[in-house]
């Protein structure tokens, strides 16, 4: 399956974090690579998506929607910027 990128989960992340997230940078806790959320590899889409580091391929985030409620597990991604960043 060909992956999409973090742009595809922007809507779910907006709902979960309450703000735009695609420009937010994160450090992969597996390999230390830094990327913007838009640049991560996304497999599958809402209601369930697995997000992988574009450098090492390990899972850094999982999104699921349960009864209309988005849930995000991002423990393997250290977010470096506050939500809502609008310019690079």
């Amino acid at each position: 399956m060909e992956p999409l990128d973090g742009n595809a989960i922007a809507g779910s992340l907006l709902e979960y974090f309450g703000d735009e997230m695609t420009l937010v940078r994160g450090t992969c806790r597996h390999c230390g690579a830094i990327a913007r959320i838009a640049e991560l590899r996304v497999y599958g889409r809402a209601p369930g998506s697995v997000v992988r580091c574009r450098t090492c391929g390990n899972v850094v985030m999982v999104l699921v929607t349960i009864r209309d409620e988005p849930r995000v597990d991002s423990r393997h991604l250290e977010l470096l910027d506050p939500p809502g960043q609008l310019t690079a």
């Binding site: 999409l4 735009e20 420009l23 838009a38 599958g44 609008l86 310019t87 690079a88």
Partner: protein, 233 residues
């Protein structure tokens, strides 16, 4: 929904009247959710085709035969129908005048949709930034916004390069074949001009184009990609 217009045999542009819309930025998308009578829901993202300056919000939707949402939007939707929509969404794949350029837009298939929003935004402004569009389509009849892009190229400083990958007319004088490093080296701004590049299309198209750009010496940090596809739908 206000009006529907055929763009190509597979794509339609839907214009929407919105009660409560805060405006959008060129390149952003919306999520559309459909709910069946039994409660089953499907949600997909569609790029906004209109510029912030346009009076109506427009989406251009490509019909996917095995799609859950697009066949409804292109075949069933009628003027006056309501749609459940979330947005505008996205901040990464966005271009605004202050970002500058030169602006290089690279689109494959319906990946041209958000690029068209950027072009319309550019055309509505002072047009200080040089802009080029490299657009890859399977055949001439599948070229979305062909008239508009041709007219923009004639009337503004837009440089428009169209390449056809599967079929072309006998007298076709444009480019043939997929976007590759040779074509990019020929028609893109040279890397020394440090263009700001936006690439949008199916995943394989984006991977190929972005890798060719980097191989040609373009700065990875000035290339922004947006992949779309039926993946996972």
């Amino acid at each position: 929904m206000a009006t529907l217009r055929d763009e190509t045999p597979l794509t339609k542009t839907i214009r929407l009247e919105l009660d409560d819309w805060s405006g959008h930025r060129a390149g952003q998308h919306v999520d559309i959710r459909l709910t069946a009578e039994d409660g089953y829901q499907a949600e997909r993202s569609y790029s906004i085709a209109s510029a912030p300056e346009d009076t109506q919000l427009a989406l251009t939707v490509e019909r996917l035969d095995d799609g859950e949402v697009s066949p409804y939007l292109t075949d069933e939707l009628r003027p006056g129908d309501d749609l459940e929509l979330r947005g505008p969404i996205g901040g990464y794949f966005v271009w605004e005048e202050p970002y500058g350029g030169p602006l290089l837009l690279v689109g494959g298939g319906s990946g041209v949709v958000p690029l068209r929003a950027m072009l319309r935004h550019w055309a509505a402004g002072p047009r200080d930034v040089p802009v080029r569009l490299i657009y890859s389509a399977r055949s001439l009849e599948e070229v979305i916004y062909r008239e508009e892009l041709t007219r923009l190229a004639e009337e503004t400083g837009l440089e428009f390069h169209l390449t056809l990958t599967r079929q072309w007319p006998d007298d076709w004088a444009g480019h043939r074949g997929r976007i590759d490093r040779a074509l990019l080296d020929q028609v893109a701004f040279p890397p020394a001009q440090r263009p700001l590049v936006y690439v949008c299309g199916p995943t394989a198209f984006v991977e190929t184009a972005a890798q060719a750009l980097v191989a040609s010496g373009h700065e990875a940090g000035r290339i922004r990609n947006e992949r779309f596809g039926p993946t996972g739908t």
